[in-house]
Symmetry: C2
Subunit: 230 residues, 2 copies
């Protein structure tokens, strides 16, 4: 794949700070590339053929069986054990008291940060679906199973920030006024476009761009650092 990759302007700067992860991602690309070519070969025209590609030919569980030793299944085990927190269990009454003692500037900073996280979590809850769909269609059931817990977690993040602002802030501010031009480019445009493109083009390069945008830029860089700011 080396030399053939054209990521968007600026994204390589970000990727360069995550070399190990980027390298691992690139190494997996040729595997899916080979699979994709086979799939493309079998894509003949005609409605009957189209319907054929929608059918199941085999089920993993009843043929070779789930691979419980695989990395995604190990992650799934961890998610079921440690990922069962419930945002509704959190009592915000103390935070609400503290909120009333904050200065206007402090309130504005937290409102700003919350406005970015609220829409950000909603975006990742919505936009990961085309990626899970591609993985399911490629027969990677163990990966899909892990991603079901990942998706549920994102939905809980979405709920968490909404509960936080509802319970803590006295009035509801205009959150979207805090969505500046750069934020809008990424969360209103780049992320949904990179993810939704997978419905039309599930090639390895398209998957790489989607993962790069979602996991490395949005989750790995923005969310991870953003959480530190709270």
């Amino acid at each position: 794949m080396k030399g053939k990759l054209k990521l968007e302007k600026g994204s390589l700067v970000t990727l360069s700070t995550h070399r190990k992860a980027a390298k691992a991602l690139l190494e997996t690309a040729p595997v899916y590339s080979a699979q994709h070519v086979n799939q493309a070969d079998s894509k003949k025209t005609g409605k009957a053929q189209k319907r054929g590609t929608l059918k199941h030919k085999k089920f993993i569980t009843t043929s070779k069986g789930l691979n419980f030793e695989s990395f995604p299944m190990q992650l799934f085990q961890k998610a079921k054990k440690y990922g069962i927190w419930n945002p509704s269990d959190i009592d915000f009454s103390k935070d609400r008291e503290q909120w009333q003692q904050l200065s206007d500037e402090e309130k504005k900073i937290i409102t700003h940060l919350s406005a970015l996280f609220m829409a950000g979590e909603e975006a990742v809850t919505l936009d990961i679906l085309p990626l899970i769909q591609v993985i399911a269609k490629e027969g990677r059931i163990e990966e899909e199973m892990f991603l079901t817990s990942f998706l549920w977690e994102e939905a809980k993040h979405t709920e968490y920030f909404s509960r936080f602002v509802n319970e803590v802030m006295v009035s509801r501010p205009d959150f979207e006024a805090f969505h500046g031009p750069f934020y809008k480019v990424l969360f209103y445009e780049k992320l949904p476009i990179a993810m939704n493109r997978l419905s039309e083009d599930a090639s390895p390069l398209s998957q790489l761009k989607a993962s790069g945008t979602y996991n490395m830029i949005v989750e790995g860089t923005l969310a991870e650092t953003g959480y530190e700011a709270y």
Copy 2:
């Protein structure tokens, strides 16, 4: 909608035993019908327009806010509270002992039933994705949030049956030999076709057919009665 509905042969017989649910489903159809017409109107040709439809115009959390009182959010609350069981926590050692005391016929009945459930749970884990995708694209975030817990639950069902046969059965039988012609029509063809069609056609009728096949026939009729047989 009345009179315009053409469900597949045989499915009305099943639906007729679930009149109340079917009625509720039909009553929701005109609401989405109106939405769908608006969407179709805005679907002009051109790549820029296409990209436009992939972007986010608004986020619910930062504009009107999540509707915590809505029915899907109430279901989401229940799912987070009662839906956190872990198939890996189940100790099958006693079942394994009992298995060895069963007659060959008894073993065959359980193997048969397990073969149907294993692939069935795998199918519903895979095939619900296009429906969740449609709901997310229509901006029904509260419904998507509940469905993330639903999907995670299906993944756990898939894991559960695989763990059961791995832990209890002494050798691994040919499960797919138990997938007869009627089972194959439904799980290898009708279900994935009804669900995957949503990627091309998200009309209310298409959503109704998908939900009818998935929720009423597969889950509501087959799974519910099948569980009683264990």
